[in-house]
């Protein structure tokens, strides 16, 4: 495992690349009501799929027992009035369980407390490619609005039939349908009683505009908050099944190492220990974690290791090992950079480097696997339960319909939990043991055998006129990715290009993907250009920017920060950065203090303005924005994987520094609510401006331009 020898090319949008096509859908309508009880159900069918079905007579009707394969979401109103929404998305701390429930309650006109959400269960929820790319809010909001609106209309129709009146005059509100003329009313529970009514409908735009939202748009507290503060919520790692064993997997001493010899006789001799050897996979399971560890420690192995690239040479390696030809889709050109540079009054070229970093979610990768009656059930904290299911089905040569993956609300992911490593390991051990097995990765495994945000090298060439207008912009990203690579600034002559490089460390998604790296390079470069043009960094940006939404966040943040600020102390500095990605806009100002003697750096104050269209839950959004700023400070200031010859040198919280309380500045988040724009996701973009804002503030404080992330892993030596 993890030792594929073939050359792997990093995809710029790995999570989208690996998203799968829609697969089979096993649940039948009859089963659906069996599981949920009688009531009213509405299924949302992708528009194209419904059109196709219409050409096949009889296939689209309530009598058709099998649900269409392309159903994207559904809800059920039970006989007790409970509303249950179903989504393949997973909750990992981004608070979508709450925000989707708000949307459902809002459109169905029921109290928030009446709604529950079944999430990320491959046997119960519609197919979903995964929870990533800030896609939950923009896709789930219109879908659940539409499905709830249809359910509401269905309930009105049932009431109208009951009363023998026309449905037009009836009003749905507060979980009941009322006839204003006769003042009669029936609750949704009463209307659903004894029914097994189902309706399919095409996906269309939502009806209720954000200006009329009643429950959405409000700071509703997080669902299940009490379970979290009392410790009663069961994360994957907390699950305990009857007869369950604890599994451990033997890891190679270095990346790419292969097993030369293995003596597991001592482990096999231990009572109650199951040892599995399957190719290079060696794992054990035992009744307790410490017995499993003891068994693992008793296995004697020899490994064949291969020489590897180390972190100290990574940037030159990436630059020198890029694929000779860059794919057309990774290249954008406008005008002539050559002419733009030739006509420039001033030129500035620079190279930026970005280190590998780890997600380090506090709940490590974990899975519990159980084989029973020919079926495999796996509980695992993953962003892609359906892809995990398919991988498990492939690995164990089982039909997908016999594999069920359930993702309990998870102890965070940040883009780091796309793969099914722990799920496969637990299932392999469970199959051998004939008992359920739990595998929870150690922190060291998490820091070593998970995957990383890729390192990258970015080269920028640019030119400006005498009065500070951009004339040319050339931007090359080697390896880290193409997200957020295009400049939002107006420039007639530009070339942006992403260059693939074969993987060095196992790499994948991270909150914001490469947009953090590309924003760091671009916004640092823009700051340097402003200095070259002898213009204030805000003035320089506005001079080259026409995007109204980006200008709006820039103006909001600088107004709040009182930009431009006068320095009042030695070592003080102010910085600014902005950008947009995935339909949302961000701008940040930072204040830093540098101790000239010790080189110590402190970020004192951050103000960030963020706009993602209509806000569904301002409280949850604020948590995401502030959280992204703090997480972003880690990658900005000090986070970096150190590795040498296939070994991670700092696989512990003691040596891999993450932001802690002392690193947290005073933070203000300004949320711009654009009720006229459909809501976009907010999990990623708020992380993108912090690193360049801090870097630019450090330049302001010291006159030293820092072009590498992390900026100051060992503090700043006095210039």
């Amino acid at each position: 495992m993890n030792t594929t020898k073939e050359k792997l090319i990093a995809e710029p949008e790995r999570y989208e690349f690996s998203a799968l096509a829609i697969h089979q859908f096993e649940l039948q309508r009859r089963d659906f009501f069996k599981i949920l009880g009688a009531g009213i159900a509405v299924f949302l069918v992708a528009k194209d799929a419904l059109a196709a079905q219409e050409t096949a007579p009889g296939s689209r009707s309530f009598h058709n027992e099998e649900l269409p394969k392309e159903i994207t979401s559904w809800l059920h109103v039970g006989e007790d009035g409970t509303v249950t929404g179903f989504t393949g998305k997973a909750e990992m701390g981004q608070n979508i369980r709450t925000s989707i429930s708000q949307t459902l309650a809002d459109e169905l006109r029921v109290p928030f407390e009446d709604v529950r959400l079944v999430m990320a269960d491959t046997s119960l929820t519609p197919f979903d490619a995964g929870t990533f790319g800030s896609r939950t809010t923009p896709t789930m909001t219109p879908q659940f609005r539409r499905v709830a609106e249809a359910a509401r209309n269905l309930l009105i129709a049932v009431a109208a039939k009951e009363w023998g009146v026309a449905p037009e005059g009836l009003i749905a509100a507060d979980a009941k349908v009322t006839d204003p003329g006769s003042k009669r009313s029936l609750t949704y529970a009463e209307l659903a009683r004894g029914k097994t009514l189902a309706q399919n409908l095409p996906a269309e735009d939502p009806i209720t505009p954000a200006t009329e939202w009643q429950i959405a748009g409000k700071p509703v507290p997080k669902v299940d908050g009490r379970a979290f503060v009392t410790g009663s919520h069961n994360y994957t790692s907390d699950i305990r099944l009857k007869g369950m064993l604890y599994g451990k997997v033997l890891r190679p001493p270095s990346f790419g190492a292969t097993l030369a010899s293995c003596d597991d006789s001592a482990a096999r001799a231990m009572s109650g220990v199951v040892v599995v050897r399957d190719g290079d996979f060696v794992g054990v399971a035992a009744a307790s974690a410490h017995e499993a560890q003891k068994a693992l420690d008793a296995i004697r192995t020899q490994w064949k290791e291969v020489p590897q690239v180390s972190s100290k040479e990574i940037f030159s390696y990436l630059k020198n090992n890029a694929e000779p030809t860059s794919h057309e889709r990774f290249r954008r050109q406008k005008g002539s950079v050559e002419e733009g540079l030739a006509s420039a009054a001033k030129r500035l070229d620079a190279i930026y480097n970005v280190a590998y970093i780890a997600h380090a979610p506090l709940e490590p990768r974990a899975a519990v696997a159980q084989f029973a009656e020919g079926k495999l059930t796996v509980w695992t904290g993953t962003q892609r339960p359906f892809a995990n299911r398919d991988e498990l089905a492939g690995v164990f040569h089982m039909p997908e319909s016999n594999v069920r993956v359930i993702t309990p609300d998870t102890g965070a992911a940040y883009g780091g939990k796309h793969t099914s490593d722990a799920a496969i390991e637990a299932a392999r051990l469970a199959r051998a043991a004939g008992k359920p097995v739990k595998v929870v990765w150690t922190r060291e495994e998490e820091f070593t055998w998970a995957y990383f945000r890729p390192a990258g090298v970015i080269e920028v060439k640019s030119g400006i006129t005498e009065d500070g207008k951009l004339t040319a912009w050339e931007f090359h990203n080697y390896h880290s990715g193409s997200s957020g690579i295009e400049t939002p600034y107006e420039v007639a002559n530009q070339l942006t290009q992403y260059h693939q490089v074969p993987l060095v460390l196992r790499s994948g998604s991270y909150r914001g993907l490469a947009a953090t790296a590309n924003h760091f390079a671009r916004e640092t470069h823009m700051d340097a250009l402003a200095r070259l043009a002898k213009l204030d960094p805000l003035e320089f940006r506005l001079k080259n920017l026409s995007d109204a939404r980006l200008r709006a966040v820039l103006e909001a943040v600088t107004k709040s920060f009182a930009w431009p600020r006068k320095k009042t102390q030695v070592g003080q500095g102010f910085g600014l950065a902005c950008g947009f990605e995935k339909g949302s806009y961000v701008a940040a100002c930072a204040e830093v203090a540098v101790d000239r003697v010790s080189g110590g750096v402190r970020v004192l104050h951050v103000v960030e303005a963020f706009e993602c269209g209509a806000i569904v839950n301002p409280d949850g959004l604020r948590n995401q924005v502030v959280g992204a700023i703090i997480q972003g400070l880690g990658g900005a200031l000090f986070e970096a994987m150190e590795f040498e010859n296939g070994r991670i040198q700092n696989p512990h919280f003691a040596t891999y520094r993450v932001p802690r309380f002392r690193d947290v500045p005073e933070i203000a988040a300004i949320l711009l609510d654009r009720k006229d724009i459909p809501p976009a996701g907010a999990g990623e973009t708020p992380i993108m401006a912090i690193a360049p804002a801090v870097g630019n503030a450090l330049f302001d404080a010291t006159g030293v331009r820092l072009n590498n992330l992390p900026l100051v892993p060992n503090g700043l030596r006095a210039a």
Partner: protein, 159 residues
């Protein structure tokens, strides 16, 4: 070799049979089913496994079960009294001081410990005390607000 030991958790006595050097964390989670106490690193670096041992916040992944025997242990499950949340738990709810919430148990237990010895901490005291607790979601400002809120409500409750 496994020894049988008596441990007292949340006011209840348990006889457990584990090698004496087994970290308390695993006994709590795997043997007693008290899974509110979390594994975050097993190295005493993240605070997710914090419990009160004889009233003081300690990292249960670093405490051998033998060292915990015959000392009262309080876990997150033991804070709620008669259906009423501990003021620190209530303050976390009121402040929305969690996102993925995996660090919450350890944060709450650390803060309960802090407020026992320092009922009115300054912000600097809170930052210093929680330096060993990792929140990867970046909820720190709300956690600090929750501590201040809890301190206030505990002082009012004590009056």
């Amino acid at each position: 070799m496994a020894n049988t030991m008596e441990i007292e958790v949340n006011g209840r006595g348990y006889a457990v049979s584990y090698p004496p050097d087994t970290p308390l964390l695993y006994v709590l989670r795997d043997e007693l089913g008290l899974t509110g106490t979390k594994y975050g690193c097993g190295e005493g670096q993240c605070g997710a496994c914090t419990v009160l041992l004889a009233g003081a916040p300690r990292r249960s992944c670093q405490i051998p079960v033998s060292a915990a025997a015959r000392k009262p242990i309080t876990t997150i499950e033991g804070l709620e009294k008669g259906g009423k949340l501990h003021p620190v738990q209530q303050a976390f709810l009121d402040a929305g001081a969690f996102q993925c919430a995996y660090c919450t148990s350890g944060m709450v237990m650390s803060i309960v410990g802090l407020l026992q010895t320092n009922p009115n901490p300054k912000q600097e005291d809170i930052v210093q005390f929680l330096q060993g607790n990792v929140c990867r979601c970046g909820t720190h400002p709300r956690i600090i607000a929750a501590v201040e809120h809890a301190a206030k409500s505990m002082q009012e409750g004590a009056r």
